[in-house]
């Protein structure tokens, strides 16, 4: 790693940390409904609730909250599916793209509704502008806001006592969209346009290239077709909402999505921004900001070492080229862009998998074995290191309950967290939240590798081929959406199995989290005594990190050994 790599990483982490407190505080005020502008803003909010037909002063118990969320997400799914299927007949389709085939439309609709943004299609060759905006951009906002709403409900479950009520889903959803995601996206979109991200409704532009050449078909290629479209507005929310779905096939490696190092910095910063700041929001809402910092610290202590491994691995280059007389000072550049270089690509790769974002500025498929390992393992930790907007923190809180429980067993006390007793129901739900993911990921990988149709999609030989399949289901099973993109995933097998994997992993986690919130809300708050485990202590942070890592390692080491680890050992042979 060069000195400049260290400076870039340091600046990145520094700016992220500086923004955590102000944004976290702002979000807490928004969700508590007591920020200074709330009287003015109710002029905007009220008419919306009236349109919905919602009484914003009424609250919901966990079941109603879950049902409303499911119904809303399902309507979103139907809407996206319909727009994709009928896009040919709808306006804003200058390239006259045909309707999306049913299996791909199903996969994509599930993918965007679950905040995964797995893409078995190339944007510039498949989707009309209307589909990109009305279907996909909208879901980028509301799927992120749904995740935030569930987190806020869980926090209310922790802070309230002896009640059924967790808040109103429609109000939490609307506030998350209106005051957090929308203004931030708007600012980011404009900043990105200034750097060269496109934003227009023009048809694709034909250009006569400078040096014509004889093409693959034997004909002389004289023109190129430059894609256009409203990209910046979608890219801004895809980063901020940890969605990750690219406007173009190459995602944020595409020069129109990410044209300069500054656009890269802003986009990469937006990826973990809200998820990290929500830790502070949590601290404010439970009236003990140290608790929020403790969770953020645990995330950083897992994130930074893995980040350094990835950067180091991509910086070192490919030993297979050493004997060819290639100057590899720039590192492993296959699948990477010159303007970002190896360090920024590895940084992005780590942060996009640590959060459940999944956008890429370089091709993870061409990462060195250890770099690829980091991206896979980050997802396999369950997307709790920052994680998705909202869902990262509620996943982490499930790990906190397990850590508290383990600590309680050690000293023989009833485990409690922030004054709430953690009892068998919470433990059951936390276990479901944590264990459902490995079961889904490993199960679906096993299905794919044991049938011909699953294996035939692979595009690399040896252990890397296995990694491609493992990566696909790890990504979908954690609602990440990035890929070892050589895998030929646009076929009914991957589209349909993958669609179900995304659905199960999203909702089989969200619903138990809400059930947990409901159960916690009903409990009393016990005042803390001298024997209470201090959950903001260094000791507890260490224990939490230990629990997260042990669960991740125990679940996935055998699979990782067959994939990136075998590949690494094979590479070391050269």
């Amino acid at each position: 790693m060069t000195i400049n790599d260290w400076i870039q990483i340091g600046a990145y982490l520094g700016v992220l940390l500086v923004l955590v407190k102000p944004l976290g505080l702002y979000m807490a005020k928004i969700f508590e409904g007591e920020w200074p502008g709330s009287r003015v803003s109710s002029l905007v909010e009220r008419p919306i609730y009236r349109l919905f037909g919602v009484d914003d002063s009424s609250e919901m118990n966990w079941k109603s909250y879950a049902v409303s969320m499911l119904l809303f997400n399902f309507s979103g799914f139907l809407f996206v599916y319909a727009l994709e299927r009928f896009q040919f007949y709808l306006p804003l389709n200058p390239q006259k793209f045909a309707g999306v085939p049913p299996d791909l439309a199903f996969n994509t609709a599930v993918s965007f509704m679950t905040n995964t943004n797995w893409q078995a299609y190339g944007g510039e060759t498949t989707m009309s502008y209307l589909t990109q905006m009305a279907a996909l951009t909208t879901q980028n906002f509301v799927s992120a806001a749904s995740g935030m709403a569930v987190l806020i409900a869980l926090i209310r479950g922790i802070t309230r006592k002896q009640t059924e009520w967790l808040g109103n889903f429609w109000v939490d959803l609307t506030r998350g969209v209106l005051y957090i995601l929308l203004p931030l996206s708007f600012l980011l979109a404009l900043a990105l346009i200034s750097q060269g991200v496109i934003q227009n409704f023009s048809p694709y532009r034909k250009a006569s290239i400078v040096e014509p050449f004889k093409g693959d078909a034997g004909k002389t290629v004289q023109d190129e077709l430059i894609p256009m479209g409203p990209a910046a507005s979608q890219i801004a929310i895809k980063q901020l909402g940890t969605n990750g779905g690219g406007f173009f096939n190459a995602n944020s490696a595409h020069p129109f999505e990410n044209p300069t190092p500054l656009s890269n910095f802003l986009e990469a910063l937006s990826i973990p921004l809200i998820a990290a700041a929500l830790c502070y929001t949590f601290g404010v809402m439970v009236k003990d900001v140290k608790q929020g910092w403790a969770l953020l610290a645990a995330m950083f202590f897992i994130f930074v070492p893995l980040l350094l491994i990835a950067v180091h691995s991509e910086r070192a280059g490919n030993p297979a080229f050493a004997s060819l007389g290639v100057d590899q000072a720039a590192g492993n550049m296959e699948g990477k862009e010159v303007r970002f270089g190896a360090a920024n690509s590895a940084l992005w790769g780590t942060v996009t998998t640590a959060t459940s974002n999944g956008s890429v500025n370089s091709m993870h498929d061409s990462f060195m074995p250890l770099g690829g390992f980091v991206t896979l393992f980050m997802m396999q930790l369950g997307e709790v290191v920052f994680g998705g907007v909202g869902c990262g923190l509620y996943g982490m809180l499930a790990f906190v309950f397990v850590a508290v429980f383990v600590a309680g067993l050690m000293v023989g006390r009833t485990p409690e967290y922030l004054g709430k007793k953690i009892e068998s129901f919470e433990m059951q739900m936390a276990s479901v939240v944590i264990l459902i993911m490995p079961a889904i990921v490993l199960g679906s990988t096993a299905i794919a590798v044991s049938c011909q149709i699953g294996k035939s999609a692979v595009s690399n030989p040896g252990p890397h081929g296995f990694s491609q399949i493992l990566y696909a289901f790890t990504s979908m099973g954690n609602n990440n959406g990035s890929a070892f993109a050589g895998l030929n995933a646009d076929n009914p097998f991957y589209n349909i199995l993958g669609g179900w994997v995304m659905l199960l992993s999203r909702f089989w986690v969200k619903i138990p989290v809400l059930a947990m919130a409901g159960s916690l809300a009903r409990k009393k708050i016990i005042p803390s005594g001298p024997g209470t485990l201090r959950t903001s202590s260094t000791l507890f942070i260490g224990l939490l990190i230990g629990v997260v890592l042990i669960v991740g390692v125990l679940s996935f080491v055998p699979a990782l050994a067959l994939g990136p680890i075998a590949e690494y050992l094979g590479m070391a042979r050269i």
Partner: protein, 202 residues
């Protein structure tokens, strides 16, 4: 929850998705487009390079160059042809894939043939970019080709080197990203200086 309540919530859900689609899927992109077109019209339209009313490309999208008198960009894995701007893509070859090894080997020997007497080929010249449309090469990779380009154009190496030097984009804000040279802009300026020499003005 009673069936009545579920029905009620379903209606709200449908209304909500309609309202949010109008706000987030239509109004928000339209507003960003309007402001983008006013504040940064060139960028919002794709940073197009227009020459005598003819669009020659985008400053952000690389083009395929193959003649000796042009600087060559990075290998591109788009299909069916390299630098197919309508379909971005990387190779997605793993680091251990024999296809990658042989492709790199071929590119190395190709460069050695066309740039005789030079060693230490910069890695970006023999590896494909992630988008397949990377507009840039490293300054090292540009200087590596100076001799060939100068020879093919009958220019002095020093003159070409100076031109390359003037096209190096430094790290943004001094530390972000990597230094780079935009191949398309560099090649266009080579053509322009040749035309100026012949008394033709673009």
């Amino acid at each position: 929850m009673t069936a009545k309540e579920i029905q009620n919530q379903s209606v709200i859900a449908l209304k909500a998705i309609c309202v949010f689609t109008i706000l987030l899927g239509l109004f928000y992109p339209a507003l960003v487009t309007a402001l983008g077109q006013v504040l940064f019209p060139r960028q919002a339209q794709g940073s197009l390079i227009v020459d005598n009313g003819r669009v020659r490309g985008s400053a952000l999208i690389g083009q395929f160059f193959h003649g000796d008198k042009y600087f060559w960009g990075r290998p591109s894995a788009t299909s069916p042809d390299p630098y197919n701007s309508a379909s971005s893509s990387g190779s997605n070859w793993g680091p251990n894939n024999p296809a990658l090894w042989s492709a790199v080997k071929d590119r190395v020997s190709f460069y050695q043939k066309n740039n005789p007497g030079l060693s230490g080929i910069p890695v970006d010249l023999v590896t494909a970019s992630g988008s397949g449309l990377d507009p840039d090469i490293s300054p090292k990779a540009a200087f590596f080709q100076v001799k060939r380009v100068a020879h093919a154009r009958g220019m002095s190496e020093a003159a070409v080197r100076k031109l390359v030097q003037s096209y190096i984009q430094k790290r943004q804000w001094g530390f972000l990203g990597e230094p780079r040279v935009n191949v398309l802009l560099l090649n266009l300026s080579l053509d322009r200086s040749a035309a100026l020499k012949l008394g033709r003005i673009f």
